[in-house]
Amino acid sequence: MKNKASVVIVGGGITGTSTAFSLAKRGVKDIVLIEREGLASGATGRCGAGIRQQWGTFQNCLLARESMKVFENFQEVLGTDIDIELKQKGYLLLAYSEKEMDQFRRNVEVQHQLDIPSRLVSCREAKEIVPFLNTEKMLGGAFCPTDGHANPFLATKAYAKAAERLGVEILMKTEVKAITVVNDRIKGVHTSQGFIETDKVVNAAGGWSAQIGEMAGLHLPVYSERHEILVTEPVNPIMDPMVMSFSYNIYCQQTPHGSFIMGYGPQNEPRGYNVNATWQFLETMARKAAWLLPPLKNMRIVRQWAGLYNMSPDRQPIVCESEIVKGFFMGIGFSGHGFMIAPAVGTLLADLITGSPLTWDVVLDLGRYDRHETIAEPSVV
């Protein structure tokens, strides 16, 4: 293990590995990535694995579209032969009120400014996309054919391998114990394997990013919340897009592997680190899914699990350098959509760390909360 590094990245999920790759690609040497367990063992490996470009703010659409460009050209961009199982069969968003339909209408206008090929659909058109969809009570929806899915485990592995090839040292089963800050500057990281001297730390610890902040004396405005999910046995391909509704509160997709993955946002979930699965989730999920997508009734559920959403005050990512502790960078608070924008976030963090102008004109800094400039994204689960 190196005892000196130019940058220490904390977290071996998609954000940490994507940042490691982006930095190394720009020629930064002596990067160390520290992961407490294994690659994608936290939220990345537990997520719904969807990639959506249908957002309601220009900035989110931009980050999603730029990330999708990377997912589309993954092997070329990373120089890898790993196939991340990208599926672009769309996201079908369902509307159950005029208000929701109006929101989709406004969102589609924003998306079109960025050439995201989304459109509004009627119930009849929705049924053409998913023939067995129960359109009862539905007013219509929105559809973007280039949205889709990728395998988070393989994407993370590919980023990690590409980073290692460029010289990044990845330490697994290694835990950050403390961070040394002197005169508001990062001086080093104490790990379970020893001390690493560095003046730059990247907090990409997902569900545990608040703790990493505390180690540097920072109270970051994020907390973790359990979200549950389940998967069925694989069946023949019958459903093209991710089907999602904010008001009915569900997302459900069939992966290229054939299994259906689905979840919904919990009500009154306490803050914390509990990732146990519950029978309440199983029942509610079964009820929701069977009503909306009736053929699911005869499918077999094989696993349920949970992961942590790292929530920020406006449910939007925080990607910046701390204004209090110099050299403390963070990519945190993704609030459930970290995987799909990780390629763009890795680029932004590499911009910040190398002192380059941001590749895209976005505002994701922590200071936005003090300036009361929270991001009003209407379309989050």
Binding site: E37, G38, L39, A40, S41, G45, F153, L154, K157, V231, E233, H257, A277, W279, L282, E283, A286, R287, A289, A290, L296, K297, N298, M299, R300, I301, V302, R303, Q304, W305
Partner: protein, 93 residues
Amino acid sequence: MNDDKTIVCRCEDIDIETIRKLIDQGVTSLEEIKRITRCGMGPCQGKTCGPVIAREIAMKTGQPMEEILSPRSRPPFGGVLFQEVLEGIDDEE
């Protein structure tokens, strides 16, 4: 019979050669092998393939089986139909 093509994971059709290649690459934990290959994510939840893969890891690394085999069985522990879950719900509303 080609030994390398022996199926280790019957749920996901993964052969021993795939597992051995990963172990050679340094992927030496059940969790990591599961994430990369889906071994253990199928209907059997690793009850069949888990011990076999653990033995392969043990042979390569010399690590004791007990240390490798930390089975994480996910509910519902055996495949269950959505319909069966729905039938089990008491409709009190």
